[in-house]
Symmetry: C2
Subunit: 312 residues, 2 copies
Amino acid sequence: MSVYTTVSHDQMQEWLKRYTLGQLLDLQGIASGITNTNYFVTTTHGRYVLTLFEALKLQELPYYLTLMSHLARHGVACPAPVADNTDQFASMLAGKPACLVSCLDGADVAQPTPAQCRAVGEMLAQMHIAGATFPGKMANPRGPRWWSETARQVHPHMDEDSAALLREEVQFQDSHRFDHLPSGVIHADLFRDNVLLNGDRIAGFIDFYYACNDILLYDLAIAVNDWARNDEHNIDDERAAALLSGYQSERKLTSEEKKAWPLMLRAAALRFWVSRLQDMYFPMSGEMTYTKDPGVFQAVLKRHRLQQHHWL
Amino acid sequence: MSVYTTVSHDQMQEWLKRYTLGQLLDLQGIASGITNTNYFVTTTHGRYVLTLFEALKLQELPYYLTLMSHLARHGVACPAPVADNTDQFASMLAGKPACLVSCLDGADVAQPTPAQCRAVGEMLAQMHIAGATFPGKMANPRGPRWWSETARQVHPHMDEDSAALLREEVQFQDSHRFDHLPSGVIHADLFRDNVLLNGDRIAGFIDFYYACNDILLYDLAIAVNDWARNDEHNIDDERAAALLSGYQSERKLTSEEKKAWPLMLRAAALRFWVSRLQDMYFPMSGEMTYTKDPGVFQAVLKRHRLQQHHWL
């Protein structure tokens, strides 16, 4: 379903001359992924993943690809981009910006165990630590300014109660500042479908194309809101505690972070509620997304507004 | 036999805090390698090789380790060094400069097949191509100046015929200049024990601690003199042709390189004949080397001086 751009064996063989990866043996489209086109590329050197970017521009890629390269070089489990003979990670192929990354051996997990949540927390902390020496900078394009504006756009389409809740939460978040909390490189989209697992071992975090510089605790809240969420949109205590304990085994939260934690869980829920509302009411023309239910994060947000304990 | 420096589990656990590699699971000394101490290090992230450098100094390591990192990033099969939280590849452990690199899955091969020689040639060419964008520089410490000086030191210890041959060859090489040939990063020691293979696939080139900037063709001659050499110190035509054809499938030799090839084979034989003579007559005190027979490369040199065809 997701090979939007077709690459022929001959085209690939020609493009591979940019690299020192040996001869092309096999080229297989990958039937997952929503935004980009992906192929498995097998050469005499090994197996790689080719990504053709359907929306990002060539000049936007270096931040993400040098970040992944930096993290992989520090032993954080993620795909390592391969540099070509001009020392670039990306160039045009079939009219699209394209890159090759190393192939990881795991699969995503729909129903994670507490042990898997713990491993995700550990690796996320390690990503935050390794990111500290990354020199690139990228402001979060989906921060408070974005959600305030987007909330105004979607309000007229919402029922009264939901619109009131959204307005109230945006105001509440606007009245709090988190600038004093530790910040750095965050993944910003560490949902279950963006982590490959091999049993309890993290094979790799993937899809870094929302990565940016922001509050570390916010990244943790995004992860907990997805990894610990059960089918009834409740946060499962055991999985949340496991993810947090894994995280803290590598990076202890400060007392200020602990104080901000309940608010951060709400901010993380708000961000995805708003983006899903936007996708539903203002679908991008020509973009092949399947719309996800905004109600999930509305429910999560409601629970966080009531919840008294937060597994810390 | 080659764990000269002992590292305890506790020491390793403490040192690993410099890295984002998770928790230490296992630490095993490796019983191969002559110059340095190596351990297999298994953490929750995976398996790595720890090297403790017995001779090289901490400040000498960046050239070699950033080179390996550069090559690995370009898809050349070699160990990828892991950077620590200060973004360094090496630091002190148990009183020795130490680094961690990714663990490769192959083994060295004593009797290579032509197909394996071909794969070595291909990967060597790819290493030369990928090395073109590496910014580091290192003069060859074992170039013509070194072998001329060393030859003078060993002459008095040699029998008359051998001494005459050595003197003649040094003079002959001195009368030829290769500065016009393509140069770049070379491995400079690509013997059979420095390549891990997995069937016919190169798992990785290892032991880059003679790597330097020099004539590319010289690197190729060093490889042919070892990979194609049979037990009678003759160069096997089939293996030599396979290695050269693999190399040329990735990088075509220029006509000037082809012209220089017979001389380069002699230069490569001379270099290892001289270093083995040095090791035999002037063993470094305290260095744990097992002396290799200089006669092997004396024989190879003699054959090259007579040989008319050189598989090109």
